[in-house]
Amino acid sequence: MDKQKLIASLNEIVGPDNVLSSEMDLMLYSYDASLDKAKPDVVVLPDSTEEVSKIMALAYKEKIPILGRGSGTNLTGGTVPIKGGIVVHFSRMNRILEIDYANRTATVQPGVITLDLQTEVLKKGFVYQPDPASQKVSTIGGNVSENSGGPHCLKYGVTSNHVQGLEVVLNDGTVINTGGKARDNAGYDITALVVGSEGTVGLVTKAILKLERAPESVKTLLAIFDAIEDGANTVSAIVAEGIIPATLEMMDNTVMRAVEETIKVGYPLDAACVLIIELDGMPEGMDDNASKIVEICRQNHVRDVRLAKDEAERNVLWAGRKGAFGSVGQVRPSYLCCDGTVPRTKLPEVLNQVIEIGKKYNLPIGNVFHAGDGNLHPLIMFDERDEDERSRVLKASTEILKACADAGGTISGEHGVGMEKLKETAFIFNECDLEFERQIKRAFDPDDIINPGKMIPANS
């Protein structure tokens, strides 16, 4: 379809104010938080499921590539329109449609900012658990599509464990509902398939999310170590002891320094790493568990363990953790975050390998990650304009993911494959695995128009 005609048709669906096609606009929608770039032909901002359905039907009829976009904070090129076409930006569909405390659900449009929902329900003493560090900006649609995790996912599970139902616009514009307020719906668990599908099976226009009562009490500890290895050993020792804290996060010296430059948390800058350990739930038994954790830290040569005295101190500790990615920009202009994940017991070993890989390629690597889940996030810092550096970064990242896969882990714990890690899928999947995934994709999108070129490598 000719571009002017396409724009005219879209104008008819959403009104000309909600169709963007200037060079400047297209440029703004050509990138996300990954390193890839490609411009769409047009951007459209729908306001309802009905409009999304019409847009999809148009794309289907004309075989135009189409993808959904929340806040564009994904780290793997999920919103980069490599084949051009239509970008559907969900910023206007940002309403919390219903909070149903009696049924413990919230029904929201995909453009709702994660933290906005969380702040709202907390007023009534409820939580929506998944808390990606990007929660201030990221959208529920993005969280659902990437199956995002976050610090509290150690105990509570990732987004997938908290989505009860979805409204999805299929390739031909058909609107379906999966799951619902009632749990255990008969049939295949389509909700589970859409969550984490990286926007490749349809456009999500509504989500029914599970709410839980906020824990009665919370205890937050900061454990300071003089060697990374001691911190890593502590993490696996805590889990091996059978303790599953709500969070178990690690931050190394490089990242702490960057954070202190911007946020001033009071992290010990001469330490090798810190762990942020949080326990929550009923207060009974919590002190015992905290003592056990302190004891494990001691056995692993901890320098000091501090307990957050109050909510304010706790918030400061978390502000540092949640602002860490942003702060890293202080060190070098760009970073690449590897999302490799390993069985928790392999953490010490793989962290060492990461450090070695950094040395080998002469690149600064900071570590700030969901240690309790075995979910590493080595941040390789560099300057994107330096071609040589950039190519070393890509090599280092591939090597890190290989190390994770070889340790019995995987190439992505929460950021997805996107277009960034297509090649690396070979580390964990064989041709049969991939073919099964292609079949699933074909069931939803036989023409390959929905976020094409993502997640599954093309048939070789």
Binding site: R104, V239, E284, Q439, R442
Partner: protein, 481 residues
């Protein structure tokens, strides 16, 4: 009748003659809703399953997979049935990684053997070890890990079901309140696809977003998308203390008020099970308190740190009193475990007692539970039927069973009519009713899977794409998929 020996010769060569059975005497024991398979096969590993499925593809044979056979009464009668594939020889625990809190097992491993293997040195186990009789020369948990962990699923038939069957049917129980569902604890699988390919998804990491979540797609798919061969599950450390509170109430209204009070607090019970006196009466349990048979019983599972259990007991017994409770009883540790095992075997017990037993699972938005149960009670008592009600309060799930004799045609007719009425009511409140078991001859009058949502279009597309020949459990799943 055709003699199939020749036809299955090929398979015998692959699996060994002893593991391919075509004798009518044997096949008759493996019927699915009275349909007799032409052969029953017992592969010993994933590669053999792959061979079987490839063979079925070539010969166009329809396959139904079977674990211990506890839930074969689920689903529609098969449209076609040639091969029953039994997973009983696939009973190896491949990896028990207690420091990582994950384990990988073959599909035919029994749930109880998993739990037994994880028991502590002192034999503290999630299931009551003493109640688990060894079957034949089978040893429960040959190779103890002494980890003091458990796999946090609470399925019916906990002492018989295989892990493959539990996952394929998405079996859950009262304690899902605290521990969630099989879908939440499965992190990896190996499956033989309908074309015979062996494929894997997920692995030993607790987080994984590399590709579609095929593991979760398989949960509850009733063997229609492939044969589950191996699975990796998360484990949890055994709770420090386990205790059951049993409280009797004169009627449902008081019992539900009690449950409602619990959910207004931030206490964390593992289960709040509300059942009628009839259900409680049929529990097969030594030393059962006598609560009479007219009222309702609340069974609360407390599984937590000792001081937390103590606090919950005290506060909940107070709440119960305020809600007008009658007698109560407290079961600790092994008695607690025996109690919940008996709960998980309630339908097995009733199945034996009532030849026409019809069991259904109802799901609905949490807040509708009182209306649902009231409506069930009134439909059943109007039809003059004996029934059990067993609600997983706080989960939006309720099981109900009609205690009928299959020879009593008038009662059976009324039972069918009552289930259909209750289904209609569930639908009205955005819920559903799925038949879990019913005599084969009654099934055709029931809507086995109840109401299916708009997402059926996608289910159909997936099934057509992944199993184009329709050889995996044809006809048994929703809308005859």
């Amino acid at each position: 009748m055709v003699d199939d020996t020749e036809k299955f010769k090929n398979l015998s060569e692959t699996l060994g003659e002893a593991h391919v059975k075509t004798e009518p005497k044997i096949t008759a024991q493996y019927t699915v809703d009275n349909v007799v398979p032409r052969a029953v096969v017992f592969p010993k590993n994933t590669d053999q399953i792959s061979e079987v499925v490839k063979f079925a593809n070539r010969e166009n044979l329809a396959i139904v997979t079977r674990g211990s056979g506890t839930k074969m009464a689920m689903g529609n009668p098969p449209r076609k049935l040639d091969l029953v594939v039994c997973t009983s020889r696939m009973n190896h625990m491949l990896d028990v990684d207690t420091s990582n809190l994950t384990m990988t097992v073959e599909a035919g491993v029994k749930f109880r053997d998993i739990q037994a293997r994880l028991a502590t040195q002192e034999d503290r186990c999630y299931l009551p070890l003493g109640d688990l009789e060894a079957e034949g020369d089978e040893i429960i948990c040959s190779d103890r890990s002494h980890s003091g962990c458990f796999v946090p699923i609470d399925p019916p038939y906990a002492d018989k079901a295989t892990i493959g069957g539990i996952i394929a049917t998405n079996s859950t129980g009262p304690r899902r309140l605290l521990y969630n569902l099989p879908r939440d604890c499965i992190i990896g699988i190996r499956v033989v696809a309908p074309n015979g390919d062996v494929l894997g998804s997920g692995g030993k990491t607790v987080k994984n977003v590399s590709g579609y979540d095929v593991s979760k797609l398989m949960v509850g798919s009733m063997g229609t998308l492939g044969i589950l061969c191996e699975t990796t599950l998360r484990m949890l450390p055994l709770p420090e203390k386990m205790e059951t509170l049993l409280v009797s109430f004169a009627n449902f209204s008081d019992a539900s008020a009690f449950a409602g009070r619990i959910f207004e607090t931030s206490l964390l019970p593992a289960a709040v099970e509300i059942m009628n006196g009839e259900a409680f009466g049929h529990l097969s349990l030594d030393d059962k308190p006598d609560f009479g048979s007219n009222g309702y019983v609340a069974a609360i599972a407390l599984e937590a740190f000792e001081p937390a259990v103590d606090r919950m007991r005290i506060e909940m017994l107070n709440m119960a009193k305020e809600a007008g409770a009658g007698a109560n009883a407290v079961f600790e540790e092994e008695d607690h475990r025996s109690f919940w095992l008996a709960m998980s075997n309630l339908s097995a017990t009733l199945d034996k007692k009532f030849s026409g037993f019809i069991k259904a699972k109802l799901n609905y938005p949490l807040s509708m539970w009182k209306n649902i149960i009231a409506s069930g009670e009134s439909i059943f008592s109007e039809a003059n039927l004996d029934y059990i009600v067993q609600a997983h309060a706080g989960n939006g799930i309720c099981f109900t069973g009609l205690l009928v004799d299959n020879n009593d045609t008038s009662a059976t007719d009324k039972a069918v009519e009552a289930m259909n009425q209750l289904l209609a009511y569930c639908q009205e409140v955005d819920g559903n009713l799925v038949i879990q078991s019913a005599p084969a001859d009654v099934k055709s009058n029931l809507r086995i899977w109840g109401k299916i949502g708009f997402d059926f279009v996608v289910m159909k597309r997936l099934k057509d794409q992944l199993d184009p020949k329709g050889i995996m459990s044809p006809g048994r799943f929703v809308e005859g998929l």
